[in-house]
């Protein structure tokens, strides 16, 4: 493995922030491996997205604006990525550890007969071997795994694990040729937006999450959303809140939901069962607001405020807003 390829994830004309984190990391890895840093941008708006990606220290950006990528699920993207990898040669492919990134990763790893390291929070080159560090077993164990010697390796990277740093000369943009002789079966018949415009929960630098203690759906909008907005973050929820139907499952953090690692995690009215803990324990700073000073969440928080969230959160929102003004 010599080169590095970033698979750029984007939606609705916006590149996911994690893509810039991957681009930054790709430069460092490529320099250590003595290769080039590439990116692959596919689908609607690929050209414009590539232009913005040029702000990051990549060497070559491969683009394909092809309706098939948007009209058929996964398969066309895999064919393009495979073609790009074949053209580039032995390489490590970096993808975000998101719903879509994992889908692509498993497929391309099998297609290229590549090893796969998942949910990596640190990556290093040791001699010629690429190693990744990942939390496993819901964060109870931290493992370091190596890609064995092969032409290709695939690594999914946890959002927020690395900084995004613009820089370097603008990358060369090249068009990817359409793979020939392919037919696709999984047709995307419609797209429905349920929570458009919301910051991706996994990438948010701050998460304000609510649980059973909120008592219903309204406080997620009236109490948590203003605080999350003031802090520049996103709203999340415990399983109890999602199961009660107060929020969509896409906001659920924990086992069977999303895993997040923001700099700041504010848990409001969340007891902190293991189920929830595994999805947020690796957050930078954890603040718990809870009526019960003995709730499990107090065991893995940095600050515990025992009190009435309905009184505390609006005051806190005001303080944060005032500090920013």
């Amino acid at each position: 493995m010599q080169h590095v390829i970033v698979f750029a994830e984007h939606a609705n004309g916006t590149t996911r922030k994690v893509t810039f984190e991957l681009a930054t990391q790709a430069r460092k890895l490529a320099d250590e491996l003595g290769g080039k840093a590439h990116a692959v941008v596919l689908g609607a708006g690929a050209g414009a997205l590539a232009e913005r990606l040029q702000a990051y220290p990549l060497d070559v950006i491969h683009v394909a604006q092809d309706d098939d990528v948007d009209n058929f699920l996964i398969d066309p993207a895999i064919d393009y990525l495979e073609a790009a990898a074949n053209g580039i040669g032995p390489s490590v492919i970096l993808l975000p550890n998101t719903m879509y990134g994992r889908d692509i990763a498993g497929r391309i790893a099998a297609r290229l007969r590549a090893g796969m390291l998942a949910d990596v929070v640190d990556i290093a080159v040791d001699g010629t071997s690429v190693r990744g560090t990942s939390p496993k077993l819901g964060g109870a164990a931290i493992t370091t795994c190596a890609l064995r010697d092969a032409r290709y390796g695939v690594v999914t990277v946890r959002p927020n694990a690395f900084a995004a740093e613009p820089g370097g000369a603008a990358a060369q943009v090249v068009q990817l040729a359409k793979p020939t002789g392919k037919s696709y079966k999984m047709s995307i018949e419609s797209n429905v937006e349920e929570a458009s415009g919301e910051l991706g929960l996994e990438e948010a630098p701050v998460v304000v999450a609510g649980g059973r203690g909120l008592g219903g759906p309204e406080p997620f909008q009236t109490l948590l959303k203003p605080l999350a907005d003031a802090l520049g973050g996103a709203v999340g929820a415990s399983r109890a809140a999602a199961d009660a139907g107060w929020v969509p499952y896409s906001l659920q953090i924990g086992q069977t939901g999303k895993t997040v690692s923001p700099s700041l995690y504010v848990a409001v009215g969340i007891s902190g069962a293991i189920q929830h803990k595994v999805g947020m324990r690796s957050s930078g700073t954890i603040v718990a607001i809870n009526k019960d000073g003995g709730a499990p969440i107090t065991e893995f928080s940095d600050l515990v405020v025992v009190g009435d969230a309905f009184a505390i959160v609006p005051e806190l929102t005001n303080l944060v807003r005032a500090a920013k003004a």
Binding site: I104, G106, R111, K136, G138, D302
Partner: protein, 262 residues
């Protein structure tokens, strides 16, 4: 129509797991082995399809697991699956995503299927790569993160969850689908189901039965474990008893300021 639900067996996610700092191994004391919770949704989705499709549709549960754990699959049989197959072979130890998917794919080809239903992730390894890798090895469409599955025996339509909503995706069978928890809570086994499960077939396959020449287990793995250790420990939390909203808010704000988070 033959539906196969794939399940992994994992240490009980509801048990507190820790790495023994001396041995650097998982302290398994008190952690039972159970069905991966994500895969219980796969079994549930498969059973829902069977109910809709009626007679002539069967649900087989398939797992790659050590022989000693195979009785755990009775839980899926008690939920309503018709039979179970466990792929068990000492040579499978040390499998990674590549060699796991290769072995399971060989097993699924051996038993045959029209539709494979997977959970989205495993609770222990949590790579999330296996459903996609499996679809690739099987050479069938892989419809991921699905809910609201509709199937007429020829075509499958599902809502595929995205970060901001869902897309409606349709595909011809044979296919593989991975499901999210939005398919519905896995059903509890009834007493009748539990009694009936004891009489259902739980077959074992070994690598030699598959006629596959793909290197298995650690020999086929393209990754290797270098190190394992416990996570960084967090200092004990500061605790503030807030008598009113303003004092609680002030305590948090000052703390965030001190950590340069505001």
């Amino acid at each position: 129509m033959k539906i196969v639900a794939t399940v992994k067996l994992v240490p009980d996610p509801n048990s507190e797991k820790r790495i023994d700092p001396q041995t650097k191994r998982l302290d398994r004391s008190g952690a039972e082995t159970v069905l991966n919770p994500y895969d219980e949704y796969a079994v549930e989705a498969a059973l829902q399809l069977k109910e809709k499709l009626g007679d002539g549709t069967t649900v087989t549960v398939f797992s790659m697991a050590p022989e000693r754990h195979k009785e755990i699959l009775r839980k899926a049989l008690a939920m309503g699956a018709d039979d179970a197959v466990v792929l068990s072979d000492p040579a499978l130890a040390g499998s990674d995503v590549w060699s796991t998917a290769a072995a399971i794919a060989a097993g699924l080809k051996k038993i045959g299927f029209d539709l494979v239903v997977c959970g989205g992730l495993s609770d222990d390894g949590s790579t999330g790569g296996t459903p996609g890798a499996l679809a690739e090895h099987l050479g069938v469409p892989g419809l991921t993160n699905a809910r609201h599955l509709e199937c007429d025996g020829q075509r499958l339509t599902a809502q595929r969850e995205t970060d901001s909503g869902y897309q409606v995706v349709a595909t011809a069978l044979p296919a593989l689908v991975s499901v999210t928890m939005a398919v519905g809570e896995p059903r509890y086994a009834s007493l009748k189901g539990i009694m009936g499960a004891k009489k259902k077939t739980l077959a074992t396959l070994c690598l030699a039965d598959l006629g596959s020449d793909v290197p298995a287990g650690d020999d086929g793995a393209l990754t290797e474990l270098v190190r394992v250790g416990p996570p960084a420990t967090r200092e004990k939390a500061a605790v503030v008893n807030a008598t009113d909203g303003a004092s609680g808010a002030r305590a948090i704000f000052d703390f965030l300021k001190q950590r340069k988070l505001v």
